[in-house]
Amino acid sequence: MKDKVSEIVKKYNKDKSQLVSILQDIQAEYNYLPREALNKLSKKLDIPQSQIYSMATFFRAFSLKPRGKHIINVCLGTACHVRGGELIAESLERQLNVKRGGTTADGKFTLESVNCMGCCATGPVVKIDEEYFGHMTNDKVEPMLKKY
């Protein structure tokens, strides 16, 4: 773990102003922001722990808990909302038996909501990992999940 954080910090030249990007890289590495990594980062960049924690909790992109194998992003942007995005989110919550932000008991999925992914024309949209699913309806939810 030590070396990964050091590597990332080095890549950004220990530039404190790149904290968001550094955290993103750490998250990409571990799938979440492990506490030891953040402590390490605090020392490396000479930023108090409290300030790193503040950043990690301010931005929605960061997770301080380990996330599932697959990340489901259900879009709740306006275009998706007016076409029933909320119902899709509820349906996912029901079928996965988790709330938004939660991870399924088997660690397979983490359900997250996002406020627009830039493909509004095809709403409601769900993204699982890197794959997009457009024009979602409730009855498409189950077959979609079965693919994973």
Partner: protein
Amino acid sequence: MPSKLKSPKALEALQKKLGKVADAGKVSISVCNGTACRPYGSNPVVEAFKTEIEKRGVADKIDFRITGCHGFCERGPVALIQPGNIFYQKIQVDDIPEIVEKTLLNRIVIERLLFKNDSVGNIQAQVDIPFYKKQQRIILGNNVKIDPTSIEDYIAIGGYSALSKSLFELKPEQIIDMVKASGLRGRGGGGFPTGAKWESCRNAHGDIKYVIVNADEGDPGAYANEGLLSGNPHSVLEGLIIGAYAIGAHQGYIYVRNEYPLALKNITIAMQQAEKLGLLGKDILGSGFDFNVRINRGGGAFVCGESTALMASLEGKPGEPRAKYIHTVEKGLWERPSDLNNVETWANIPLIINNGPEWFSAIGSSGNTGTKIFSLTGKVNNTGLVEVPLGIKLRDIIFDIGGGIRDGKKFKAVQTGGPSGGCLPESMLDLPVNFDELTKAGSMMGSGGMIVMDEDNCMVDVARYFLTFLEEESCGKCVPCREGIKRMRQILNDICDGKGQESDIDLLKELGAHLQDSALCALGSSAPNPVLTTINYFHDEYMAHIRDKKCPAGVCKALIHFYIKDNCPGCGLCVKACPTNAITFVEKRKPVILDQSKCIKCRTCYDICKMGAVGIE
């Protein structure tokens, strides 16, 4: 990859060389692989094209190009074939061998893939399709001509000549004068005159200045900047370098929303390519002008679209806005003069330099010149990215370009400007779309979201939706925004739950006025807009919720229930689909029975029923 360009002549020479290749008269096909086409499966389509072309060994005969967004996202995946301007839509993997065989190699048009229109029949040429007809795609138009990951493509269509002209033929002041004369106003929402902003930044005290691209398009339901940045990143970059030269900045920042992986990827590639060619970095084109750019990824915070919050984030701090009593052009990033413009604003710059301010100001209307990209979404037939001259009527966008409302439903409202904007009713459809008129109507331009709603959308629910969004996205710094939005959302929740009182309307208005006055930044001060406009234009709908405890659009769960109509054929589809087993099968040809106590109003049965036998009351 060509070598470093050290003079304007070298660029010109390269342009000529690449231009000739492009004009070679080959058949070309541009396949959209923009973000919006991906949910339709454009990735496998692109891959299939590659394999097919390779399999047949016709790579030298076909100019195959993967491009960014073509705009007509509704019909994705789409492709444009030249010569002939042939527009194919809804392309599936199975269609590809046929397209290559017939159209690309033998110039036979496949009717099945053309756009169809009830009145005219099949339409072959892209320009004749109603969606494109009223548009004026001066910025987005190049998306179909270039592979966004290829700087050669951009240079071949005249890219970076505006930069060359700026560096060698124009003084910074002249550039600013041109931008001022063009009448260009900031495309990020506020509509502040760009030239004036540049001038104040140039004149501000301090040797070190910054230029920033705001690509944190946070408005849910708007993706115009995404389409532009991922489809034509060099145009933004070129505008930025020109701006830096005009203002006197040597460092630039591009702040990209992290939810836009494609845009992020393409602008990163564009930067690397420009640097290799000597169009970015030290001594650009041998002019002696140095300029570097850093890309920053957003962390998923809507408020970071606000300039001061964005700058805080660039400094490595949480994205909290600060008061702008001292403007950012004087004290911005690291307390230094900083000019921040939106993606679309920057992309307009090369056009103004190349074609002159008069050309630009002739587009649109006086005081609102040029075009604006809108992401037309929601309940409209033709969704996608549309670029129209400012001053066009809402009706033209929604009904002519957008093709009217889906499924023959009735238009109810159009929401512009994202959470900071408002909902405009049918009576406002003839409103000219420009900065001032939209603001006057209680809405705003924002970054170009245009979400159309029909009779099935509940306006109280929409207002609540925006406030729920803003409640989550508020940075939480100031009391009016943090506490005020929360209370407004609670009141709206109550109204949607049938617990509203008539006095709630006044309290909402009072809170709204307070937020407009007292909130720290634009997120808070514009937050009441969706509520105030819906109260203003859809007062009856609020009253139906409060007085009659009814949701006329059939959305608010607490106020509706589902029922099975007599025409139910008892097919049993809904029985299987119902997640709570609330529906029981009786026998064939007899209506099923819905148990209200088990129904969670998830709408699954309503959506799945082909007979329209599920009713909402």
